[in-house]
Amino acid sequence: MIDTPRREVAASGTTGRSLIIQLAAILLALAAFAIWVATANLSSTERATLNSSALLAYTGEHLALTFVSIIIVLTITIPLGILLTRRPFVRASGTILAIANFGQAAPIIGLVVLLAFWLGFTFWTAVVALVAYAALPVLRNTMIGIQSVDAQLVEAGRGMGMSATSVLLRVELPLAVPVMLSGIRTALVLVVGSATLATFIGAGGLGLLITTGVNLFLPSVLVSGALLVALLALFIDWLGRVFEHYARPKGL
C-alpha cells in the first residue's frame, strides 16, 4: 500500500487527566472551605448564615435556577437553531441571531431588574432573564455545528436515498454534537455565574450570601458566597466537559 492507514492513538488521555485535575482542585477547595467554616472564629450572625443546612438550601436554589433556565434554553434554541439552517428559513437567521446577540449584550443586571418591574420579583422572572442571557451560545453553536458539516456528506446521504430528515438526524446532528455541546457548556457556565444576581429580585441562590455580606458588612459571608459560586461554576463546567468527552461521536 502506498498510502498507509493511520490508526488513531488515544488522544483522549490528556483530556482525561485534565478532567481529573479539575475535579480534584474543586474538591480540595471545597474541603478547605468546610474546614475553615468549622474551625474559624465566627460571630453568631455569621454562624447563622454559614451553617450547612442554609448553605445547602442556597446551593439548591442556585442549581434550580440554573437547570430550569438551561432546559428552557435548550428546548427553545436547539430546534430554532436547526430550523434556521433549513433552506426556507436560512434568510431569517440573521435577524434571529441579532436578537439573541442583543439578549447577551445587554447587561444582565439591568435585564433582571427591568424584567422584575414588569413581571414581578419572582423565581420565574430570574429564569426569563437568564434564558435571554444564555440563549446566544447555544443557538449560535447549533447553527455553526450544523452549517460546518461537510456539504459533500449531506449530498452523499441524499444521493443514497436518505430523506432530508434522515440526513439531519443521522448525519448533520451527530456531526454537529461536539460544537453544540461546547455551546451548551458555555451557556451553563454563564447561567451559573449570572444566577448570583437573582438575589436582587428576591429569587434566592448563592447570591444571597454576597448581598448579605455586603449589607451587613460580614466579609467572611461575602467571601464564602463568592467562593461557593466560583466552585459551583467550575463544577458545572467540569460536568459539561465530562459529558462532552463521552457524548462526542466516535470516529471524529
Binding site: D3, G161, K250, G251, L252
Partner: protein
Amino acid sequence: MSATNTTQSNDQASRTILLDKVTKHYPGQLKPAVDGLMLEIPAGKIVMLVGPSGCGKTTTLKMINRLIEPTSGRIMLGDEDVTDLDGDKLRRRMGYVIQAGGLFPHMTVAANIAIVPKMLGWSKDAISKRIDELLDLVSLDPALYRDRYPKELSGGQQQRVGVARALAAEPPVLLMDEPFGAVDPITRQRLQDELIRIQEEVQKTIVFVTHDFDEAVKLGDLIVIFGEDGQIVQYDSPERILAQPANDFVADFIGAGAGLKQLTLARVRDVQLADPVTASPGEKGADVLARVQQTNHDYVVITDGRGRPISWLSRRQLSRLDTIDKSKNPDLPLVAEGSTLNDALDAMLASRLGAALVTNRSKALVGMITFDIVMKSINQLRADVQTADDESPVGTNTGSPEVSEVPND
C-alpha cells in the same frame, strides 16, 4: 438475495438510461448549464462524461438520480420516467460515489455500507453477509476493516469503501462523480484497475464523470466529450475517438500521443504472440543451440518443470554452456496476459532484448511479445476503427445549434 438479483440485475432493458432533451437552467444564470441533452446510456456499460470544468458534467449526473431536478425534458430508466418516481426511492436503486468516498466519519465501515440495505429493510444477517462480500470485492479484509472508522483508513481505502457502499443494495446503476480525483496517481491507477475488475463481476450500468481524458480512455466503454459550453462534441468508443477525433477541440483534448493511448485499450491476450524456442535445465547446450539455429531464432527461453520462465539466453551464452543449469534470472521482462499493450511496451523498453515474455495466471510462459507485434496491432486497431460500421450511440444537444448536424465549412 436471489429475488433482488432476478428483478434488478439481470433485466437488461431496465438498466438503460435515456436522457431525452434534458435542460437545466439554474435560476439567475444567463445560459442553461445543460441544454437539450439527448443521451443514451446502454445497459451494462461504463459511460464516461468528460470535459472541461463547468461544462455541466455534475449537473447531468445529478439529474439522473434527481439530486437536481431538470428544468425540462425526460429521463428514462428502462421504460420508467425517472421524474415520476419518488426521489429518495429512486436514489436507493442507484449507487452514488463522490470524491473521497463521502463516508460518514461517525460511522464504522460496516455501518456506512449498511445504510441503504437497512433503508430497504434487509435482515441483519443478510446485511452482515453482504458487508463481508463487498469488502472482499473491493479487496479489503473484512476482519480488519469492518469496525474501523473512516479516519483510520487511507484515502484509497476510503474510496474503496465508498464503492462498496454504493454497490451495497445491488443497484443496477452506479453514478460516480470524479471518484478518484482526490487520491495520489499510483492509488488512482490501482483503483481504476480495481473498478475494471469489479465491473467484470457486477456488470452495472455506470455513468462516470471525470475531467481526466486518460481515465476516460482507460475505464470507458463509451466516452461523451463535452465542449466548453456543455454541448456534446463526440460520443463514441475510446478507440474511435482516438482514431477519429470529431474536431480540433477533441484532438486538443486527447492531447499528444493518441497512438500511445490506443495502446492502453488493447490487452496482451488480444494480440497474436510470437513463439519463442524453449528448453529445460539439464539439456545439453549444443543440442539447444542447434535447435535455435535451425529455427532461425537468436534466443532461447529456459523454463522450469511447470513451464515458468527462469532465464532467457542468447546464442553466444548457449555456446558457452555445457549443460543448461537451473539458475534463475530475476530481471526477466515479464508481462501478464491481462496487461495492456502499454504495460508490455514498458517492459520491452526496460529489457535489452526489445521483447517481453508473456505469462498466464500460473506464471507459465504462453508466448513472447515484440515491437513488431505491437506496431502491427496499432495498425490493426486503426484499420478496425475505419471499417467498423456498428452504430455510434445516440448523443446530441438540440439546444446548441452551433454543433448541429449541419456540416461546417
